[in-house]
Symmetry: C2
Subunit: 202 residues, 2 copies
């Protein structure tokens, strides 16, 4: 998996290999958006990208590895880890960017493919698990910073906080079919930060 903290082109400027990689990843996202996951293959991506398919087989081996890298890069571009100095604003930024990405055609196709497959497609499931391990570890930093600032108690586990933030957005997209809109994101962030029982202390 590529080093996703490196901005494309900043450390490995140009070069044929970088151009092929960029073309393949872009073609993967286009293919996902237009055709969906079920028919996506290294061959179909190679055709769309205008690169030789053996290049893709050599570099990625499986469509799962290719889709994982394309989605990781897309998500790290579009859902950067925010650092506003306030947990509430960080969570609002994170949830807003996640909702925007999951409702793009390629984001939605990817998420629905993962949800449909479950553990039946073990290569996809393994790639997806790795994606989320990395992504949740990145996102956890906003909670760790809030602990360091004294906004939340020392010893707070970051990961359930991120899952409680992102879960309701995916619930709307995948389960109830509603849009995770700005109003809903605000309500979820309020709950995650203050809880529903805050009135008891007033």
């Amino acid at each position: 998996v590529a080093d996703t903290t490196r901005k494309a082109g900043t450390q490995r400027p140009g070069g044929r290999s970088a151009r092929v990689r960029a073309a393949a990843l872009a073609a993967t996202l286009e293919e996902l958006a237009e055709e969906g996951y079920s028919t996506l293959s290294l061959d179909s991506v190679a055709r769309r990208a205008g690169v030789h398919k053996t290049t893709l087989y050599r570099r990625w081996g499986t469509r799962e590895a290719l889709v994982l890298e394309a989605m990781l890069e897309r998500v790290s571009e579009r859902v950067p880890v925010p650092d506003t100095g306030s947990l509430r604003d960080d969570l609002l930024a994170l949830a807003g960017a996640a909702a925007a990405t999951m409702t793009t055609p390629e984001g939605e196709a990817h998420v629905r493919a993962v949800a449909a497959a479950g553990s039946h497609d073990s290569a996809l499931a393994a790639a997806n698990r790795q994606f989320w391990e990395e992504r949740l570890a990145l996102d956890a930093v906003v909670v760790e910073r809030a602990v360091a600032r004294g906004e939340v108690p020392a010893g707070t586990e970051p990961r359930p906080v991120i899952e409680a933030l992102l879960g309701p957005l995916y619930f709307r997209l995948l389960v109830t079919g509603e849009r995770p809109d700005r109003r809903f994101i605000g309500q979820v962030v309020d709950l995650v930060i203050d809880g529903v029982g805050r009135g008891r202390r007033v």
Copy 2:
């Protein structure tokens, strides 16, 4: 859609029609669990239930209507709306029962089919929307009772609370592929009730 508040058999005891309905709904859940959603049809359910397929066509018309009724009945049996006298215990009970149901083979097959289809299968999407309208309205009662007891502020919107509770469980099942276990349920309930920032007030 059947009156889901009525317990099977308590108001309409026996009768051929009730037996056919029970057999068809049970066969639908079996078919979902064993074969999945994609091949389920009124014909396949009729064969499994040992009833005439015209009976199913007359009563339900589409497989979406049949699956909706089967899932609604299953969920109202397995995920009753709790009334323990405490919001925390009600949310724990609700989340525990929801997690147990969504991880049964038929529950998981149903949820993955809905997530995969999105709005492409408009009959399934419409049936699913109706299911969740009803279910979220039922579940909202636990928050309304907490408001009445003074546990949470007057004017609290119940629905986002229920979505914040259930969302992370579905997120694990459908998105990250982790199990929504008891420890995680406890963490989500704590967040929904008290929020992560509770330390600020100590």
